[in-house]
């Protein structure tokens, strides 16, 4: 060995850095021997499915579908990439300028800037101090902690419950009403059919398959959307779709899909297709109604016995009211559906048993209440509501709705609210004249225009002056509309806190970022089979929380400790105590009906199966006796005309369903001379909203030049000189994005699709990182909400209207900027 004298000098200094991080330590016996059964397959669940996991040296190695899941989604291949993502939030972090200047920080830096690592204690103390400041200076109207979303599955660790319960122990705050998925639908349908319908169990598939002769899929793509569910999915609906495919092939059931695009379901079933211009469904429905009415094909007895207000609707249909007769010829001009097809369709719907299955897309637009209401009117005129295989459903594409429910009681959850008698530290309910609850999609409006009064569902809402927001397991920088408006709003916020697993754009726009662990890193329980409630799943911890992440329960237990309310928060119980309690209560509720073993046995087995459910028909009880079993509408009947809504005197939601022109509409509608293309931003095929977009290896199975695909019509693309695989710039006056061209005959002229949930990653026009902070920046990956319109559906629901969106596109010829969506803060400079 060559002599190295300087080493002697080093030794002579006998210098070691005392108090530096201890990186290595002697191996403990526990780690050496390993936990018992560490190589077994363990069960867990997620929105993507229930599955089993095998580990290797404390790391998840293999993931395979749960035994009872016969139709698993290939999204299961993305699960490991969620857990072991390089963009995991590894430690609690605080934006440096916020750490230095608190609520007086430079908020224009928000979006991408310098963060520092802090300890959990420091982070949670800062969090509490910010809440103190907001409650002291502004009161509860200054804090919005109600913007919540698709938390990871699990009844105990549900992120929304933990965040809201813990923050409620500190003080009151603004909350939301409704959600982005079905905002218009869930507001209008209680007036019409007496319940939200969208989140209700529907007629069982076996009854539909046995009785329906015609199934209408209206803007509905169940084959795509049933891959994910609110609870652990087991994908039983796919068995019924397979049976339906057979029946279509054998000519036993006609399936007619009415849609502006050829859907995945159309391709799978090989069914009939009727193309309709985007956003014009109400005109088509009115023309069908007109055909039924003028040809005396409507079920007068059913209308008489089960509905109210048909006579107030007819003058509108016939044009007596507004001078426009809603004929097939009238509708053809708006919808591009040929008049004779409309006439045929009207006859088909009443020829035999017809089940209408509505999707959710068409209510996510301006006047989104109308197609849902009008579809209910059509179903009433057909007269089969309450019959097996007849009537209307608004949910058969969602969370196993239509799979017969087991009937078992589901487990409870960790409480979202304070226990009885508990009081917040800031026990102040003075919202200073502002509303304590605002429509879910109007929070950016509130931040930008505090004090403004709007109409919403028969009330006046006064926007609170929001200064601080808390997001937990929620990524509004995916699901809200119009990124550039959001940037302006976020500059006005004093403090933003985000709790998540990976660095979403929401985290990058925050001041305090806290790492939650994934479902794989904690113990929990969940229903499997979603709405079918087929059984109970043990969600077993596979690995210890990665890095410095913690479970939601642990995060907010520590937070409650800082508030001096730990015991109030946990009720003195551990994670295991809670699991046993939730399981025990479920067992008790099912006593004598569904056998459930003791908790320890359940945990060892991994699940308890509740068995098959009995087929059931929605609204059958109402049909049997509408007086004994009235609907939840004001009259107890189906309300074709709503006196209540009429009394609101809204110009954009009248007393009966109405066709109204949109602020933006393709195919000759307003704005189409400037931006001729309608952009459909429907739920993704390979993600749950934005969840799993960050899973890189899986993402690469569908991206084009690392960008989110944009699906283009062949003629439109050719006109613009675009080939399959090109990068395309999609733009309108609100924003611009890059996406990868996938040219497909499934998309008609004037229509493109970019799935929502594509992560936001802004860069400058020149591809620079610093340009990404500016309003008008280019999304480098392809987030469609860079382009969508942030307007309410109407004065009734004030719901998200993402589908009222026109764009244009061109081949992108400049130097391709890097994708910046999947990373932590980028330190773009001051």
């Amino acid at each position: 060995m060559k002599r190295r004298n300087f080493l002697k000098g080093i030794l002579a200094t006998s210098f070691t850095l005392a108090g530096a991080a201890s990186v290595l330590t002697p191996l403990t016996a526990l780690a050496k021997v390993g936990a018992k059964n560490r190589d077994d397959w363990l069960t867990t669940g997620s929105h993507f499915g229930a599955f089993k996991v095998k580990r290797k040296n404390g790391v998840i190695d293999q993931v395979k579908p749960f035994d009872l899941d016969k139709y698993p989604t290939d999204m299961i291949n993305g699960v490991k990439g969620l857990v072991y993502n390089p963009s995991r939030i590894r430690y609690p972090m605080v934006r440096l300028d916020f750490l230095l200047k608190g609520h007086k920080s430079n908020t224009s830096q928000r979006g991408d800037f310098r963060f520092v690592r802090v300890t959990w204690d420091q982070a949670l103390t800062l969090f509490k101090q910010s809440l103190d400041e907001v409650q002291t200076n502004y009161g509860p109207s200054g804090l919005h902690a109600g913007q919540t979303g698709w938390r990871a599955t699990g009844q105990l660790h549900s992120s929304t419950s933990h965040m809201q319960r813990a923050v409620a122990m500190h003080g009151n705050f603004v909350k939301k009403i409704g959600d982005y998925s079905t905002g218009a639908g869930q507001t209008i349908l209680p007036y019409v059919l007496g319940s939200t319908e969208v989140y209700a169990q529907g007629t069982s598939w076996p009854l539909i398959l046995d009785n329906a002769k015609t199934i209408v899929l209206w803007g509905n793509d169940p084959y795509k959307n049933l891959q994910v569910g609110w609870n652990a999915e087991t994908h039983e609906s796919y068995e019924y779709l397979a049976q339906l495919k057979d029946k279509v092939k054998q000519g036993k059931i006609r399936v007619i899909s009415i849609d502006p695009v050829a859907s995945k379901t159309q391709d799978y079933l090989g069914c009939e297709k009727i193309y309709v211009n985007p956003q014009t469904d109400v005109a088509l429905m009115l023309a069908i109604a007109y055909e039924l009415y003028t040809n005396d094909l409507h079920d007068k007895e059913f209308i008489e016995g089960y509905s109210l207000g048909f006579e107030r609707f007819v003058p509108y249909l016939t044009g007596e009211d507004d001078g426009i007769v809603k004929t097939a010829q009238w509708a053809e001009k708006i919808t591009s559906v040929p008049a004779d097809i409309i006439k045929d369709l009207a006859k088909t719907l009443v020829a035999d048993r017809t089940q209408i299955l509505m999707g959710w897309c068409i209510q996510r637009q301006q006047h989104g209440e109308q197609p849902y209401w009008m579809a209910a009117v059509l179903a009433t005129m057909i007269g089969q509501i309450g019959l097996p295989g007849g009537g209307i459903s608004y949910g058969h594409h969602y969370s196993s709705i239509g799979v017969p429910s087991s009937g078992a009681a589901a487990p409870g959850a960790f409480p979202r609210n304070l226990d009885e008698g508990q009081k917040p530290i800031f026990d102040n309910s003075d919202f200073k004249g502002a509303s304590s609850t605002i429509p879910v999609a109007r929070w950016i409006d509130a931040i930008l225009e505090p004090g403004k009064v709007i109409d919403a569902n028969g009330s006046k809402v006064t926007y609170p002056d929001i200064k601080m927001m808390i997001f937990s397991g929620n990524n509004p920088w995916n699901h809200h509309q119009d990124r550039n408006r959001m940037k302006q709003a976020f500059h006005k916020l004093e403090c933003v806190v985000s709790i998540d697993i990976n660095w979403t754009a929401t985290c990058r726009f925050s001041d305090i970022v806290l790492p939650a662990c994934t479902t794989m890193e904690r113990n929990d329980i969940d229903v499997y089979g979603s709405y079918a409630n087929r059984g109970l799943l043990a969600m077993q911890k596979m690995v210890e929380p990665l890095f410095d992440s913690l479970s939601d329960y642990e995060i907010f237990t520590r937070f409650a400790r800082i508030l001096g309310k730990e015991k109030e928060y946990t009720r003195g119980m551990t994670e295991l105590d809670w699991l046993k309690k939730l399981y025990g209560e479920c067992k008790k509720a099912n006593d004598g009906k569904f056998a459930m073993p003791e908790f320890e046995q359940f945990w060892q087995d991994g699940y308890v199966h509740f068995g098959e459910g009995k087929p059931w028909t929605r609204h059958a009880d109402f049909r049997a006796d509408p007086e004994i079993n009235p609907l939840g509408t004001p009259s107890g009947m189906i309300e074709i005309f709503s006196r209540k809504i009429e009394r609101f005197q809204y110009d954009d939601c009248k007393g009966h369903p109405t066709w109204m022109e949109k602020t933006e509409r393709s195919h000759g509608g307003p704005g189409s001379d400037k931006h001729p293309i309608w952009m459909q931003s429907c739920h993704p095929d390979k993600r749950l909203h934005s969840q799993m977009c960050e899973s890189k290896e899986y993402r690469q199975t569908y991206t084009v030049q690392d960008r989110e695909p944009v699906y283009l019509n062949p003629q439109d693309a050719k006109k613009r000189g675009i080939k399959n695989g090109d990068v395309v710039r999609v733009f309108n006056s609100r924003g611009q994005l890059l996406a990868g061209a996938v040219i497909s005959n499934n998309f008609p002229p004037g229509v493109i699709r970019i799935h929502e949930g594509a992560w936001y990653g802004p860069v400058g026009d020149d591809g620079s990182l610093i340009g990404g902070a500016k309003v008008g920046a280019l999304c480098s990956y392809g987030d469609p909400n860079t382009l969508t319109q942030d307007i309410g559906s109407s004065k009734l629901a004030q719901a998200c209207s993402a589908y009222t969106c026109l764009v244009d596109y061109e081949k992108f010829t400049k130097k391709l900027p890097p994708v910046t969506s999947f990373s932590g803060p980028l330190e773009i400079g001051a």
Binding site: M1, K2, R3, R4, F6, L7, K8, G9, I10, L11, A12, T13, S14, F15, T16, L17, A18, G19, A20, A21, S22, V23, L24, T25, P26, L27, T28, A31, K32, N57, V59, G81, Y84, N85, P86, S87, Y91, M93, L96, L99, L100, R114, F115, V116, R117, W503, L546, F547, D548, K696, E697, D706, L769, P818, T820, S823, G824, P825, L826, E827
Partner: protein, 225 residues
């Protein structure tokens, strides 16, 4: 005649101790942000002597100088926080302006051996094959990653700390083989990235120091015996 014959067994032992100190020192700098206490130690007489001793080696002098310069400027909470933000942006997040501290992000273990450097865009999952390999090494040596340092086994601080451990416990051949295989295969790329993205110059100096140190090691340790 083998060059090591020039050194007595005691000489070798003390050289190894000295080398272990250097590895541990480098590991500490990558493990965690500098705080007031660590800066005080590094700017103390003993700390400065230590750095000066290292700077006696000509190829290390430039990096040590840069570090010393920066250390004298770390005299306020704000300057420490700025350096902590550099550390965070470089090593604690993933992004276009960060540098992965994980060996597995640079190397492809699925191909034959581990010599294939990844293309720039091919970042993979953390806690991958390289983490597994390091965990096995650590277990064989009866050590593990400390629970206060919740990072994968292929974090640069772990690999450097393990190199220190080997200095005191393994044959020179095994040490060299470990250094060549688990550090030299990616440290050049790592250092390049740090230089590119470091706002200031402290961590680029630390990375440069690490690279130069390893180069000396590979040059000076006997290839066979």
């Amino acid at each position: 005649m083998s060059p090591s014959a020039e050194l007595t067994r005691e000489d070798v032992a003390s050289e190894n101790q000295g080398r272990a100190i250097v590895y541990n020192f480098l590991s500490s700098l990558f493990a965690k942000e500098l705080n007031k206490d660590l800066v005080a130690q590094l700017t103390s007489g003993q700390g400065q002597d230590f750095l000066s001793s290292l700077a006696l080696e000509p190829t290390l002098a430039a990096s040590i100088d840069k570090m010393k310069t920066k250390l004298t400027k770390l005299n306020s909470d704000e300057s420490l926080l700025e350096l902590a933000a550099d550390f965070c942006g470089l090593f604690l997040v993933d992004g276009r302006t960060s540098v992965s501290p994980y060996a597995g992000q640079y190397l492809n273990t699925e191909l034959s051996g581990i010599e294939h450097a990844k293309k720039k865009s091919e970042k993979v999952q953390v806690f991958g094959e390289f983490h597994q390999q390091m965990t096995e090494f650590l277990n064989h040596s009866n050590v593990q990653v400390h629970s206060d340092f919740p990072e994968p086994g292929d974090h640069i601080a772990v690999i450097l700390a393990y190199a220190a451990h080997l200095c005191l416990s393994a044959s020179i051949e095994n040490q060299l083989s470990f250094i060549e295989t688990y550090l030299m295969t990616w440290i050049g790329k790592f250092t390049q990235q740090v230089s590119k993205h470091d706002h200031d110059f402290f961590y680029s100096a630390v990375a440069e120091l690490t690279l130069k140190w390893l180069e000396i090691e590979v040059a000076d340790l006997p290839k066979d015996s």
